[in-house]
Amino acid sequence: MKGAQILIELLKKEGVEVIFGYPGGAVIDIYDVIFETPEIQHVLVRHEQGAAHAADGYARSTGKVGVCMATSGPGATNLVTGLATAYMDSIPIVAITGQVGTPLIGKDSFQEADITGITMPITKHNFLVTRVEDLASVVREAFYIASTGRPGPVVIDIPKDVQQKTAELVLPEKVKIPGYQPTYRGHVKQIALAASAITAAQRPLLYVGGGVISSGASPYLLELAEKADIPVVHTMMGKGAFPESHRLSLGMLGMHGTYWANKAVMHCDLLIAVGARFDDRVTGRIDSFAPHARIIHIDIDPAEIGKNVKADIPIVGDAKMILAELVKRIEPKTNPEWWQEIEGFRSAYHPPYRKKPGKLLPHEVIRKIYEKTHGEDTILVTDVGQHQMWAAQVYRCEKPRTWISSGGLGTMGYGLPASIGVQIGNPGKRVVLVSGDGSIFMKIQELVTAVNYCLPIKIFIMNNSYLGMVRQWQGCLYKGRYSCTRLQNPDLVTLARAFGAEGFAVEKEEDLEPVIEQALRVEGKPALVDCRVAEEENVLPFVPPGKSLEEMILE
């Protein structure tokens, strides 16, 4: 069997249903096999970065490993941003790249790039397969590494001659990697310590992140919070880990978190971090973060413990298994005084709500989108920027894997290709993309892909003719010197139609509802809505970088 056939056989064995990719000279042998493999759908994107983001969106929304493919050289380097995005957010994807033939490696051959060297710091692991006999076990290991422990992207680089050479297909046995044995079960003593700390705490607070979602720990999180009456704040990556409409949810914390979530962090006496990594966008000035709290830190990655803050009770392991144990070991309790304090925070501040006559306010647009689209079968995808923060603040997510957004890397252009992956992986669900006029143009070519595959994605663009988040910083922190942030955009409706999608525009508040409804009725193709919103709205609250969470800009 040829190497290319071995690869596809192994992908089938791993249960791969779809590959997002783009052909080229160094993967042509693999594509020749794909030609006769009806079991695996191939989604042809228009730029390899789109393939990586689509595989990422597929993985985030389904919980399966996403697969993307690209040719050598420029094809492979175009994957890099997508790999870094997945790496920062711990998303399991396997990227298969073609490589020039082994005799040509290292000679600056045509379309050669050292992709394993390039992706070393932005992948969980990578492989250069130099012998066809190794291919089967490498594919096995790649999927195993990507999906276990702390998930992440893995690259398999396959030289052209390895794809062409033949070997016997020997199905690898159980994967055994001597240096890779993730810890899942939390240390019993540490769990007992955590349980007694929770029992003793007067102002406990759960701080939950994306790890809860990737572990599938949400049911136990809910049980724990309810049993011990603990308020919950989530990171942006943790949206959906805990139902946001639940009485115990305080919403998102951090730079653009809710006033009361940040206040709760600053006043709690026990912070229980679950699958979260104390990112600088979350903590603000790190030495003033949660100043009165003992910290329990639950994470599957030992390297996260003590990286940014010192944990009093570290527990390494799988969030689901640890929370399940923890729930068993705590007594039901209530924290009425703590809640009274939190209600005080809640009533002390209301987000500024200033209607501007004749202007469409972006958070109002998102609120309306939320009203019209939220529900069991909706998955919200965002790009990166102001619209992302407004969406994070306004669009409540009740379930894991219903909020898809680039967190750690903050990749503008992520949204559209990710939506494609989400829709392909969830054909029956409604996929809503909230984007901005900056982000959408970073990957606008993928609108072709969405049209080609008849994907009914609803695209709402918060169009303020600015690179809004940078403009906001320039306004707040750089004396209003709007350097290079004004965007001159083409007409988005015409553009959508030229691509074969449906296009709408809305400028007035009274038109908002009917236009959204029209867009939602579009079937069999994407609908793009150009929401021409007020130009200079800011995302508030805003904790300026390097400031304490107490120092929120509120107006």
Binding site: T116, G117, M120, P121, L128, I145, I177, G179, P302, A303
Partner: protein, 161 residues
């Protein structure tokens, strides 16, 4: 504080690059580095000497463990160990001073491994301090070139990493 870290890794291509780039990315300077095979042909041993406080070292150790091909990491600080380094020093040694140089080499229990009309090459093994001291003494004759292997170390007694 100086730490000697021993890392057992799978003997595969690029493993050294992964380890080295991990240090580089976090801005930790490597003082010395030595790599070689072990009794198991599938496993290599990397010995690193780095400077840093406990927190930094803990982070480095954890990050090393995140590398898939890293099997075991050990820090020799606060343990009982033997460490050695080897150096080759090529020094000017015209006939007038040759006896003097040979005497110094003798005192250090070093060995002359190559002789030529005007120069000698000295092989010396020991702790870095000993090598530093010899280098210092030979300096006045004029060192033409020298190379050091970087430190290697093993725990004392029967225990192993």
């Amino acid at each position: 504080m100086q730490h000697i870290i021993s890392v057992l890794v799978e003997n595969k291509p690029r493993v050294l690059a992964r380890v080295a780039s991990l240090f580089a990315r976090r801005g930790y300077n490597i003082e010395s580095l030595a790599v070689g095979p072990t009794q198991d042909p599938k496993i290599s041993r990397i010995t690193l000497v780095v400077n840093g406080n406990e927190d930094i070292l803990e982070q480095i150790t954890k990050q090393l463990y995140k590398l898939i091909e890293v099997i075991k990491v050990g820090d020799f600080t606060n343990t009982s160990y033997v460490d050695r380094e080897l150096a080759l020093i090529k020094v000017n040694a015209a006939s007038a001073v040759r006896g003097e140089v040979a005497q110094i080499v003798e005192i250090f229990r070093a060995r002359i491994v190559d002789v030529e009309e005007k120069s000698l090459t000295v092989e010396v093994t020991g702790t870095p301090d000993k090598i530093d001291a010899l280098e210092q003494l030979l300096r006045k004759y004029g060192i033409i070139e020298m190379t050091r292997t970087g430190r290697i170390a093993l725990a004392r007694g029967s225990k192993s990493l």
